[in-house]
């Protein structure tokens, strides 16, 4: 099992564009948003946070297709299904790595992003926590869609159609947590929900991903 | 209908449209299948099919 971890880590580190692209996309999105719509007179009204979350959602969506694509096309995925004792764990690991390069990295940089969006200082902490808890859901639910479309040459539009409706709760609760005045768990129930959704998708989604990949492998 | 007639009629017409649309599409689907089946039954002779049974 150790060598499998090592390999996943190497695959992430050596595929530098996969690390840079999502983060660069969010920064560019922030830039465009400010050029397009920000007016300096207005005080902060929360729509900037919503926009930031939408950018994170789309950045994740754009990176989703590559979760399994390279492994599928090179035949590593079929080796995993044929030879591995527990494909489940390896797939879990893969999605986790996808999260590291998208959601996790973006969460780490979120204070900077939020400042660029004009979010007041008091909300930076909340935004960070909300992103950190909310983004794993995006990766895991999204990977279900990716597992089904990986066998189709270009499944981009279909992937968006399958996945974006499922992102709605994360967007709503995430924005709400980001905007809350306090971060105490007892005071904001949306944080509970964000937690719940995250845990549920972490535990349930891998089963669906397994089934989806089996379908894609049988299509081959 | 105190000025709301247009809205009410629009809704009911839309409902009728969708009900009949679905009804006829399903009916034509069934007809099509039955037709293609009886056509292929014509092509095989009846005894031929009886042998297979």
């Amino acid at each position: 099992m150790g060598s499998v971890w090592v390999r996943e880590w190497r695959a992430v580190v050596r595929n530098r564009s996969a690390i840079i692209n999502p983060v660069a996309f969010v920064f560019l999105g922030v830039l465009l948003f400010n050029l397009g719509s920000r007016s300096y007179e207005e005080s902060f009204d929360g729509s900037a946070l919503g926009m930031l979350w939408v950018l994170v959602l789309i950045a994740n969506l754009l990176a989703l297709d590559s979760t399994f694509r390279r492994d599928f096309e090179s035949g590593l995925l079929e080796q995993i299904f044929v030879s591995a004792e527990v494909p489940f764990l390896i797939l879990f690991l893969k999605v986790l790595m996808q999260w590291m390069t998208t959601g996790f990295l973006i969460s780490l940089l979120s204070p900077l992003l939020a400042l660029l969006m004009g979010v007041p200082y008091e909300l930076l902490g909340n935004t960070f926590v909300a992103l950190l808890i909310g983004t794993p859901t995006l990766s895991f639910l999204g990977a279900i869609g990716a597992s089904l479309t990986v066998g189709m040459g270009r499944g981009g539009a279909l992937l968006a159609l399958l996945v974006l409706p499922l992102y709605i709760p994360v967007l709503i609760f995430g924005v709400d947590v980001s905007q809350s005045q306090s971060i105490a768990l007892t005071e904001i129930s949306s944080l509970y929900w964000l937690f719940f959704i995250s845990l549920a998708s972490l535990t349930l989604a891998p089963f669906a991903i397994l089934l989806g990949l089996k379908i894609s492998l049988a299509m081959d | 209908m105190d000025g709301h007639g247009l809205y009410v009629w629009m809704s009911y017409l839309a409902a009728l449209l969708i009900i009949f649309g679905n009804y006829f599409s399903v009916r034509s689907l069934l007809r099509k299948e039955q037709k293609s089946l009886s056509w292929s039954a014509d092509k095989h002779s009846v005894t031929d099919v009886a042998d297979e049974l």
């Binding site: 060598s3 390999r7 695959a11 299904f81 030879s83 049988a218 | -």
Partner: protein, 196 residues
């Protein structure tokens, strides 16, 4: 032991060939012949469980599978690829035997070169190292001669011969008959269209 009983593989609800019956004891080798589209690859994928539309039954031991896709990560070098694969299988990895096996396929000087810099034929050779190191009882090989030069073809035959002598079991779909001492042949005929 490999055992196929009235096995028919379906694709899109259509049978691909006539029901197959075959038994293969350990130490045996079977070559699967047939024109394109006769269902060779799909039969192999059925035996390893990647394709599950079939009628009849089959028994198949733990397998090593080599499909059309090589299963090598372009970002990694052969040593890393092997380490990953053996970890996947749950067998132990040591670099000496990996290098020895690489020498066998004449690729030892590429041990630390990322696979992205190799030609297709060279990648094929590297993938053959996995056959050698795999601890699985059976090999399921899908057209192993593709893209190989004459020495490569000879090497494949030798490896299969050795596997059988060591008490292994080889199923190989191929267009080029195997050059081994004892083999069974199964000829698949493509069925025309959907005869269910």
């Amino acid at each position: 032991m490999l055992k196929l009983t009235d096995l028919v593989v379906l694709r899109d609800e259509a049978r691909l060939f006539q029901p197959l019956n075959a038994t293969l004891e350990a130490g045996g080798c079977v070559e699967l012949l047939g024109p394109n589209g006769s269902g060779k690859s799909t039969l192999l994928r059925t035996m390893i469980g990647l394709h599950d539309q079939y009628e009849g039954t089959y028994e198949c031991p733990d397998c090593f599978y080599q499909g059309h896709k090589l299963g090598l990560d372009d970002l990694m070098n052969p040593i890393e690829n092997l380490e990953w694969f053996l970890g996947l299988e749950g067998s132990s990895f040591d670099e000496d035997s990996a290098r020895k096996a690489l020498a066998r396929v004449n690729m030892v000087e590429y041990a630390l070169v990322p696979c992205s810099r190799m030609s297709q034929g060279q990648k094929r050779r590297v993938s053959m190292v996995r056959w050698i190191l795999s601890k699985r009882l059976a090999w399921i090989l899908d057209e192993p001669f593709t893209l190989l030069d004459a020495t490569g073809v000879r090497l494949v035959n030798e490896l299969i011969q050795e596997k059988c002598e060591a008490g292994g079991l080889v199923v190989c779909a191929t267009h080029l008959p195997l050059q081994v001492q004892e083999k069974k042949s199964i000829q698949l005929e493509a069925l025309s269209g959907s005869q269910v």
